[in-house]
């Protein structure tokens, strides 16, 4: 057991835990933020994606100790009022069905657009193919990423 500091969405949390516990379970069960989802536990589906220092990571496969004292952003940290361009685009294109995987999809799309403001279909494929959506919202995800890119360009 170890006492660690987690900096999630610009807020500090002290957690006393097994340092090998995946970040996912620390976020969900100890910190109590449930927007980040468990999907497979082996980094195959992307439902657990959060940003670590701005880079998308699979929180189900990252020991909590590796995230200590670093900036973590979860879906709750993107914006509570859905004002982030990616959230706006997701709503505009009516992407979610069941919605369970969408936190991870949105976090991956946000990271993509941060490093590539105008992604091609190929760029979108590369960034998003690690994310499973059983409801099959893929065509809308592709569309929403392009919409978000336009929204971001127009607000610059």
């Amino acid at each position: 057991m170890a006492s660690l500091t987690l900096k999630i969405n610009s807020k500090n949390y002290t957690v006393n835990t097994d340092p090998k516990m995946p970040l996912l379970w620390a976020i969900r069960d100890i910190v109590g933020l449930t927007g980040t989802k468990y999907g497979c536990g082996i980094a195959q589906c992307g439902a657990c994606t959060v940003h670590l220092e701005g880079t998308p990571v699979r929180s189900c496969s990252l020991p909590v100790s590796a995230a200590a004292n670093k900036n973590i952003t979860t879906i709750e940290g993107l914006s509570v009022d859905n004002s982030h361009p990616v959230q706006l685009a997701w709503i505009q294109e009516q992407v979610p069905q069941c919605g369970y995987c969408q936190s991870g999809q949105i976090m991956a799309a946000t990271a993509l657009l941060k490093r590539n403001a105008n992604p091609t279909d190929k760029d979108i494929d590369a960034a998003m193919q690690g994310h499973i959506c059983r409801c099959g919202t893929y065509p809308r995800i592709r569309k929403a990423i392009k919409t978000a890119s336009q929204l971001m360009a127009s607000t610059k």
């Binding site: 097994d18 100890i30 989802k37 069941c98 193919q129």
Partner: protein
């Protein structure tokens, strides 16, 4: 619109709001075992006085807010949007005036709540329209009384009643007290669909914002004070038991609180396992890892996939249980000008909802309350009451949002298991199924084998048609079930007019006995029947030398089907196909909706096959929200693509082989191109939306592959890259 992710009974709602007597509440009352036609609309206070339980109800308070219950699950299919749209239309309110609350499991109140068979809208829309129109008429009457004018001088709009001549208006909130004193009118006039303002519009789903900022509460997100977390090491064989277990290492893991033997009721068969209960999910998982269990695997078959399929094929050589026949198939087939036969195979499949199974249970000495992603709350309430020997009213079943359902979350096993653990440890507990548990424990979609025979006459029309189906019957798994009857799902997916146009046919099934538990999987038997029937239709068309779309047109004389075929031909450019393009079509019918799909394929420069585009035409009759329908068809197509080309569940030595997404491969964003969906406009009865888009995709794809390559695919799944 606000979605109240909390379960409130009507009585509590009124109490909470302090609204008793100051709200207009209307609901349905169906006499016990009564016929649908005896359902009457009744006021909340009348029901209260008479001690009657109200079904689905709407309540308007003094601020004009409308609160409704949704007695069905929201698992992505959009009932939380389409139900309020129906109510807003006839009640004449804006969607943002409506709050929706999750209903609790109560069969007596709501009738069947199992969200399956694509039934939420098609089963309830007429009642919902009438209920809303009744409330509107009472509000208009209340306003007319206040103004001392006749009702016909007034109309309702945007939550107000307006006096036409003077332009005077009163908000619903100001009228509810008066209106609640009136008796509901017996007859109300419903709108002509031409005049719809809310229905038929692609309005944005009100649950979307909850799903883009992480605030939607799914089953896995439910927390209770003092709640513990459990995972269960179940016998990997479906009928297996626990001989003994050693938890000495498990108990050393910090956070582990209890280790106990549990069982899981799978169609009356008690599969045993050992639960590890801890203060967090990870600790429970770690404790499970070091648990040593000795299994008892005696007394049942340890099957493997090859054996199951060999058995099905063997059975098809013998007699089947006849379901539906016309004329004399054997005689007509023998006399046919051209004859053909084909065998089709479809795999066992896991539902693999993105939200793995889970359930929170809190069982006390005299009551049980559960929360979870639940498709069949009333069924679960009955099952828990029986198992826990509690009266029904002491069992409360709360639905959360579902991270996918597809049929799996209608089953009763996972709430049962959670309740048993909570009862034993005397604390609230959440049971989490790991992805491996979720994928390998079943129930699964049953694997099927079909044998089709067809005879063509000299004009190239179908003279004789036979389909024999072998596979497990989902309806006869409970102990003591009558297994002598036919499986009436043999023709599920087949277009109705074929029964008219084909002079001689025979459909029957040969049920497979197997310990593998099976369950509805999106579009149920149509999901596999559609592949066999519509592939064979294509084979017959080509054998007859006909264009596959024209061949279908000729056999489907009904105008409704003709219109769908015309539309499909027009939007897909069926007749304008280019060189090196493969086009395939399939049309199926299930849950009273008809869907036709055309798939276009081609080969990339590297020789690999690619799906260029899919066109779908959905005829679901009376409908609510076109964009939700499109989304459901898109999703159905992607799910079908997975089962056709990516994944299958195999069994070896009595255990499921594929356990996670590294072996049970899913379609990805790279696997599907553009999908164009069209919705037919007509006033036929409302049909299902969530499932009927699935069955035609796979045969349309394999028919397109044949069109391009001459290669006929009869066994699923197949690898698109290897065609």
């Amino acid at each position: 619109m606000e979605i109240i992710n909390k379960n409130i009974s009507r009585r509590n709602f009124i109490k909470l709001g302090g609204l008793s007597g100051a709200a207009l509440t209307l609901g349905f009352s169906t006499p016990a075992f009564g016929k649908e036609s005896l359902t009457e609309i009744i006021k909340g206070d009348t029901a209260e006085n008479l001690g009657i339980d109200l079904n689905a109800w709407i309540s308007i308070d003094t601020s004009g807010k409308v609160t409704i219950t949704n007695h069905r699950a929201e698992m992505g299919q959009g009932s939380f949007q389409s139900v309020p749209q129906i109510i807003a239309e006839e009640l004449e309110v804006n969607l943002d005036q409506i709050n929706i609350v999750f209903a609790q499991g109560n069969n007596k109140k709501y009738g069947s709540q199992i969200t399956g068979g694509s039934s939420t809208i098609r089963g309830n829309y007429k009642k919902l329209l009438k209920l809303s129109a009744t409330a509107r008429e009472m509000l208009i009457e209340a306003a007319a009384k206040k103004w001392s004018v006749t009702k016909s001088e007034c109309y309702a709009e945007n939550g107000f009643v307006i006096h036409k001549a003077s332009g005077k208006k009163l908000g619903y909130g100001e009228l509810v007290q008066e209106a609640s004193k009136l008796e509901p009118p017996i007859e109300v006039v419903l709108k002509n669909p031409k005049d719809y303002k809310v229905i038929r519009k692609s309005l944005a789903r009100q649950d979307t914002p909850l799903k883009t900022n992480g605030t939607a509460i799914f089953g896995l997100d439910k927390k209770l004070p003092g709640m513990l977390y459990a995972v269960v090491e179940r016998n990997p064989r479906f009928a297996g038991k626990v001989k003994s277990f050693d938890d000495s290492e498990t108990k050393k893991i910090p956070g582990v609180k209890h280790v106990l033997k549990v069982n899981r009721d799978v169609f009356g068969n008690m599969q045993e396992g050992v639960a590890v209960v801890a203060t967090n999910t990870w600790a429970a998982m770690q404790g499970r890892k070091v648990l040593k269990v000795e299994w008892d695997d005696t007394g049942f078959e340890h099957h493997n996939t090859d054996q199951l399929y060999a058995k099905m094929k063997e059975q098809l050589k013998g007699d089947v249980i006849s379901y539906k026949t016309k004329g004399n198939f054997n005689a007509a087939f023998a006399k046919s000008d051209k004859k053909l036969e084909a065998l089709y195979e479809t795999p066992y499949e896991s539902h693999s909802c993105m939200e793995p199974l889970n359930c929170v249970a809190n069982v006390t000495a005299d009551a049980c309350e559960i929360w979870g992603p639940i498709q069949g709350p009333d069924w679960i309430q009955g099952s828990l009451a029986a198992h826990l020997k509690l009266p029904m009213e002491k069992v409360t079943v709360n639905m959360t949002f579902l991270g996918g359902g597809f049929g799996r979350k209608a089953f009763t096993d996972y709430p049962y298991e959670a309740a048993m653990i909570s009862k034993e440890i005397k604390a609230p507990v959440q049971v989490i199924w790991t992805r491996e548990d979720d994928m390998s424990m079943g129930p699964f979609r049953p694997g099927m084998v079909y044998q089709c025979k067809g005879g063509l006459d000299k004009n190239g029309a179908i003279a004789a048609f036979e389909t024999k189906m072998a596979g497990q019957n989902m309806g006869t798994q409970n102990p003591g079930a009558d297994k002598s009857g036919y499986n009436d799902s043999v023709t599920e997916g087949l277009l109705e007019p074929y029964f008219e146009s084909i002079p001689h046919y025979s459909f029957g099934d040969s049920p497979l006995e197997s310990p593998v538990p099976v369950m509805w999987w999106r579009s149920v038997y149509a999901s596999t029947n559609g592949f066999a029937l519509e592939s064979f239709m294509d084979e017959m068309a080509l054998e007859a030398g006909k264009d596959p779309l024209d061949f279908r047109r000729k056999h489907l004389g009904n105008p409704r089907y003709q219109e769908l075929i015309n539309k499909l031909e027009e939007v897909s450019g069926w007749k304008k196909r280019g060189k090196n393009e493969g086009y395939g079509v399939a049309i199926t019918e299930c849950f009273t909706s008809i869907v036709g799909e055309v798939v276009k394929v081609s080969k990339k420069p590297d020789g690999k096959l690619i799906i260029d585009k899919v066109w779908a035409v959905m005829d679901c009759g009376w409908y609510v929200n076109p964009n939700i329908i499109s989304a459901q068809v898109e999703g159905s197509i992607v799910m079908a693509l997975g089962a056709a080309t990516k994944h299958a569940t195999h069994f070896a030595d009595g255990k499921a082989v594929e356990k996670n997404f590294n072996t049970y491969l899913m379609p990805r964003i790279t696997d599907i191109g553009e999908i164009e969906v069209h919705v037919m406009d007509n006033e036929e009865k409302a049909g299902g939306v969530g499932e009927p888009g699935l069955p035609p995709f796979t045969p349309a794809l394999t028919n397109a592959i044949f069109d391009l390559t001459g290669k006929r695919i009869r066994v699923l799944p197949f690898n698109l890259e290897e065609v």
